[in-house]
Symmetry: C2
Subunit: 150 residues, 2 copies
């Protein structure tokens, strides 16, 4: 259902951009493909270590940066947590994250398309909303009394 990138297109994409195909790079992308969601560098390393235990965290970071430069990956920053990485999807999407239970759900780009258009109309601003992370309360947590966990 996801299969953002098979080995074929992967090779083409990377080589097309002048990047080399190293096992480390493949494993990092494989980790991200398999886990489907967003991952921290540390989580990626863990997954990569399942394939090959000697890959270094510095290599992971270096490759994440490079792959972002080439728009193969994207990052999200949330306060007080490490950066979250994910494959740039053919189909752009966004996330809603519940601030209570931390559950994360995808929403299609179409949901925010109207916002993009409005920003262009009103401000001449070409928003690049590749994957926003929208905080709030999911239906479940909104139904509960109030922050009983605290």
């Amino acid at each position: 259902m996801v299969a953002v990138m098979n080995n074929q297109t992967l090779t083409t994409t990377l080589r097309g951009k002048g990047l080399r195909i190293t096992p480390q790079r493949e494993m990092i992308l494989l980790a991200l493909t398999q886990s489907q969601g967003q991952m921290t560098a540390e989580q990626i390393l863990e997954k990569v270590h399942e394939y090959s235990p000697c890959v270094n965290i510095a290599t992971v970071y270096r490759n994440l940066d490079i792959l972002r430069d080439y728009e193969i990956l994207s990052v999200t920053a949330l306060p007080d947590r490490p950066l979250q990485w994910e494959l740039v999807d053919a189909e752009p999407h966004h996330h809603i994250v519940c601030t209570e239970c931390h559950r994360m759900e995808q929403v299609p780009h179409e949901t925010v398309a109207a916002l993009s258009e409005k920003l262009l109309r009103d401000y001449g601003f070409r928003a690049v909303l590749k994957h926003m992370t929208l905080p709030g309360l999911c239906a479940c947590c909104a139904a509960k009394p109030l922050d009983s966990a605290k």
Copy 2:
């Protein structure tokens, strides 16, 4: 036009929450009030040092955290930059940031209200969109050829 909080309401707010009014706390809030936009902890410290040069960065961080807990301040995280702090405005608003020239502009909450409503309708999700940061290209940079700076 801004005056989010005068000394009167500030005192009431803080004391009402069981917090003490220390000069450091006042200066931090004053710095944020005067600069009106978002500031990093370091920038806040700089401004505070104009008032009193011995305040410590740890004090700034501690107070920022506390003031956030009490919803007097809010934070924004962007990849590869320090956290940005701002006063929680009576009037919620958002930012559009140009990824080329890094110019930041405010947009009123109304701009994203439709999105909130859609998320509630479609997902039962009560988005808390207090101040989003929307990346993209401002009109100026979009008009320029292509990334000539790179």
